[in-house]
Every structure is written in C-alpha cells, then in structure tokens.
Amino acid sequence: MSDNAIEKVSIIISKGSLEGIYPGLIMANGARAEGIEANLFFTFFGLDAIHRKRHEHIKAATVGNPGMHMATMLGGLPGMSAIATHMMEKQMTELDIPSIPEFIEFIADTGAGIYACQLAMDMFKLSKDDLVEQVEDVITVGEFYEKAAGGQIIFT
C-alpha cells in the first residue's frame, strides 16, 4: 500500500435533494469499505437526510438542474419532481443502492461517525429528538474541525 494512502475523511452534506445527499453517503460508505475512518456532518438542508420525518421523502431537484435535460418550466410543473424521484429510485433499487434511511443505518453500523450541525439545527428549530437515532451528536463547526483533524474534508 502506498505511504500517502488516505486514512481518514470527514464529509459534509449540505444539500437536501436526492442528488445532493447520495454522493456523500456513497463516499462515506466507500471509505469505510476501504478501512478508512469516516465522519459525516449534516448541515443546512442536508439535515433532511437524518430527519426522522423527512428522510423517507427526499426528492430529486427538477428545477435549476440542467443535468435533468428538461426545460425549467416543465421541471416546475406539479408532480415533476415526484416523477423524477420515482424514476431515479427505481433505477437505484435495481442497482441495490439502499434507500436513504437504510443507508444511514448501514453507514452507522460500519463505524462511521454521524453528526448534525448545531447552527443549522438552531436555524430550523430542530432538536436531537427530531433526528434519527444514528446521530451521535449535534456539534459546532469548531468541534467538527476537531473531529476532522488529521484527515481530508469533503464538502458536498
């Protein structure tokens, strides 16, 4: 193994859309599979991924997302986001990609640390009880940097 192999990553998830949440989860899970220490830090709308009532209802963004290859006006029509989400979820199920709630549970079981951002929690008037049980702690940005010390930081 190379001497400069990555030994630790701390991944920040700041977006609340399907395509905003999954990449960070996949990278955290992949890190643990390689034996790399991993932390996940959820902030701003990314908190929806660990919100008890919202994590099952994460949607793909169809507006302001050129990658969808549809006219912005169409993307804004009622139900378009639900349709796009359904299509993506179907594709992901075929590839055995877990749902967000299952994925968070899985990643916690691999030993990754799962944290929520204190300031975003205050902004959205959330308490730790609103979050899934896998969340270890609600922490400040300073505490995040302490936990991330000695590793790489990835912002998504």
Binding site: M1, N29, R32, A33, G35, P98, F106, D109, T110, G111
Partner: protein
C-alpha cells in the same frame, strides 16, 4: 506482482496483496494471511465470512461487497467490522485468496 511464502507455499500476489490465482489458495494459509492483517486468531465467525467469500467468488466470479456480506453471509455489518476492522470485504478477500471485490455500494 510479487511472490511470497505463506504457510510453506510460494504464492503470487498483486501490488495490493491479493492472490493472482485463487486456485492456489488452501485453508491452511488463512491463519498466516490473517496474521499479516493483524488478526491473531481466526474465530468461527471469521471462517464463516472467509468461506462465504470463496463460495461467492466461485459462483459469481467476483467477491461480495460489505453490503452483500451484511445481507447474505449471516454476519451483521457491525460484527463484520469487529471481525475485520480494516474493511471486511477487502481484508476477508485477501485472507480468502480471492481478488479485491469491486463495487461502490
């Protein structure tokens, strides 16, 4: 590619330490391979995972990822990481003499 001696057998491994020829592997090599990974004693649960890796590879031509191991080996994800802290699928593949499992999930 390098040649190394494991439990008295000369075997070829790639740069990441995975067997080049899974057929060259025998069960008596497992304890020595595990020791190289920092696992001093192989428990029954370790063996469950190692044999599962072998049978999945024989059947599908590729080793299982951690997610597949957790779903189908009978050993939970938490336990897998206790058994193989440095990455269950990867380390168990090295000990089981099969190539590194590929897959992002």
């Amino acid at each position: 590619m390098t040649t190394k001696t494991v439990a008295g057998h000369d075997i070829e491994v790639n740069d990441e330490g995975f067997f080049v020829d899974p057929e060259a592997w025998t069960e008596d090599m497992a304890p020595a391979l595990a020791a190289e990974e920092g696992i001093d004693a192989l428990t029954d649960q370790h063996w469950t995972v190692i044999r599962f890796m072998r049978s999945e590879y024989a059947e599908k031509g590729t080793g299982p990822t951690v997610r597949v191991l957790g779903k189908t080996s009978g050993v939970s994800v938490k336990e897998l990481y206790q058994l193989f802290p440095k990455g269950p699928a990867k380390i168990a593949a090295r000990i089981a003499g099969i190539p590194k499992p590929r897959g992002c999930i």
